[in-house]
């Protein structure tokens, strides 16, 4: 499987020079660190030329005070094999800066990324440029903090209470 990835990385790097910054192998999983500005192009290339038609997961991680850039957006892409047991999964990561975090959306490549990107925006405040309908998905629309950021306290209920009281007052559910 790893020889597959060698040719894959070569192909991606020749199409987008310097796009693959690093390759990590851990517990039998392959992770590629992708240049943030090329993520959309790399994803399109992976889908079109290598058959990664299925976006298994899209999420983000906050490395506050551990790393700069602060955020990482993580993609798990999947290729269905010709046989049911010939499947390949690949993890892509793109580092996103802490101030005004922004990255290209992949919704035009996999439409399933729609809600996943909205969730990342909701939880981390990372803006996906080119997303058709980027607004909060789990938390109320008038909620201000981004809960999964490391500087947010898990027991901080103030913003939720404000939103609840406003909803009660205005009878708007």
């Amino acid at each position: 499987m790893s020889s597959d990835f060698d040719s894959l990385i070569e192909a991606v790097n020749s199409a987008y020079p310097g796009a693959v910054k690093e390759r990590i192998e851990y517990r039998g999983e392959t992770t590629l660190i992708i240049d943030k500005d090329r993520i959309s192009g790399v994803c399109r290339h992976l889908k079109a030329s290598f058959g990664f038609t299925f976006l298994a997961d899209l999420t983000a991680v906050d490395y506050l005070e551990i790393r700069t850039p602060r955020y990482e957006v993580v993609y798990h892409v999947h290729r269905f094999g010709p046989e049911i047991d010939e499947n390949i999964r690949l993890r892509l990561k793109a580092e996103v800066e802490g101030d005004n975090p922004k990255i290209d959306s992949v919704t035009h490549i996999w439409s399933g990324a729609d809600w996943l990107e909205r969730e990342v925006y909701d939880m981390f405040g990372i803006v996906f440029t080119g997303h058709p309908d980027l607004r909060r998905i789990l938390m109320p629309e008038d909620y201000e903090p981004f809960p999964l950021r490391k500087d947010f306290d898990v027991r901080d209920r103030e913003a939720s209470k404000r939103s609840f009281e406003r909803a009660l007052r205005e009878g708007d559910n």
């Binding site: 038609t53 298994a56 809600w115 789990l138 999964l148």
Partner: protein, 409 residues
């Protein structure tokens, strides 16, 4: 909260008929019996035809991912129950497998624990499909199927109760194997279930599969093509109902599923009826797996011999000082996986459930991400119901078999 316009969007005047019509907005949920929890769908209707459907979620968002960053790996286990609570045991096993992968101890898990987990996993699948089919039928007006399904669920609850003491929220296996050996009557109870369940399955089959009303309400309803299903990232019966034979148990086997003989049922129409047929057949296949498991349930140790991960036996903590200290440290600080990250997927009844764990070398996960199948599957709803009748929305939601605990987490 987002404001939805309750005023009609636009008015049309039909010169031929002389009738003025408007698009009507109908708010369905978040408290509605057919939304399977707290889903809210805003429907824009032209007469009875759905022009646009917009789902709103998050009414059950409890912050499980954030809560798990503050507790040890073992303490996260009970939170996983409360995501897909229709098949808690599957979520538990999925999480345990991910932590075992993070620790790199998959090979140390004894066969007895693995086989027991397979049996319980498949019981969980049957448990979930029973509710999926039962409530889908109930929403469409067939009450008796629901009652038959729930009768069988109680039988599975009985088995789970003897194994772990809880009916619904099991929190059962532990990292490294089982917390206790299986009870003596486990095998007998499972064999009894294997004997009784096919009868009920046949009853549900005869109530629904060739029932004219059921076919009329589900065939050709809420269709989705294979391309769209893959593009949207659907998994589970929602994907297999559209003809894509993707099943994590075959694609990326775990718990030794490659050694079991079973089929992955696929239907091609991509409608609500196909998804129903997939679920029915999956229950039959699960029975086959359980039977193979119970016939080959090996004796031997039920937990791995890993003192750094597995708690010592209760008896020893009472009698030996070292065991007591080890117990204390394991409970208080937890085991510490090496820094790194893994993702592990399992085939939950509703689709691919995957956990993505990042360890920073401490006893608490740095980040736990859950990819719930329902979250992704629900994205298909607007496409499925567009241009269809209002009543078909109910059939569509039921056939997707979503569970809001997993969508909102």
């Amino acid at each position: 909260m987002e404001r939805v316009e309750f005023i009609s969007q636009e008015a049309h005047f039909n010169a031929d008929t002389g009738i003025r019509t408007e698009t009507m907005m109908l708010n369905m949920g978040p408290q509605h019996p057919a939304t399977h929890g707290v889903l809210r769908v805003v429907l824009y209707l032209d007469g009875e035809t759905v022009v646009k459907a917009v789902p709103y979620i998050g009414y059950l968002h409890r912050g499980i991912e954030k809560l798990c960053e503050h507790i040890t790996y073992q303490q996260c286990l009970p939170y996983t129950d409360r995501m897909d609570y229709l098949a808690s045991i599957c979520n538990n096993i999925g999480y345990i497998l991910t932590v075992e992968k993070l620790l790199g101890i998959e090979d140390a898990i004894p066969e007895r624990a693995k086989t027991a987990e397979v049996i319980l996993f498949e019981l969980g699948r049957i448990e979930s499909h029973l509710v999926g089919i039962g409530t889908n039928a109930l929403d469409l007006g067939a009450m008796s199927a629901f009652l038959y399904c729930f009768k069988e669920r109680e039988r599975i609850y009985d088995i789970l109760e003897t194994v772990c003491g809880a009916r619904l929220t099991t929190s059962y296996p532990r990292v490294g194997g089982l917390p206790l050996d299986l009870p003596d009557d486990f095998e007998e109870k499972v064999r009894n279930f294997l004997k009784v369940f096919p009868g009920t399955l046949a009853e549900v089959d005869s109530l629904l599969t060739r029932n004219r009303i059921w076919i009329d309400r589900t065939k050709g309803i809420a269709t989705i093509s294979a391309e769209d299903a893959i593009d949207l990232g659907l998994t589970g019966p929602a994907l297999r109902g559209s003809g894509v034979p993707y099943d994590v148990r075959k694609a990326m086997p775990y718990l030794g599923y490659e050694n079991y003989d079973f089929e992955v049922p696929v239907a091609n129409e991509g409608d609500a009826y196909s998804r129903f047929l997939c679920r029915m057949e999956e229950m039959r296949q699960s029975l086959r797996i359980i039977e193979q498991g119970i016939n080959n349930l090996p004796d031997g140790p039920y937990a791995a011999d890993l003192p750094d991960v597995v708690l010592p036996e209760k008896e020893l903590t009472y009698t030996r000082m070292e065991s007591l200290i080890r117990h204390f440290v394991l409970v208080y600080e937890g085991f510490k996986p090496p820094a790194g990250e893994v993702q592990h997927a399992v085939e939950n009844p509703k689709g691919e459930l995957s956990y993505y764990l990042i360890s920073d070398g401490t006893g608490k996960p740095y980040r736990m991400r859950v990819r719930g199948p329902s979250f992704v599957n629900l994205q298909a709803l607007p496409n499925m119901v567009k241009g269809r009748l209002l009543a078909d929305v109910i059939a569509a939601i039921g056939s997707l078999d979503i569970v809001l605990g997993e969508i909102d987490r």
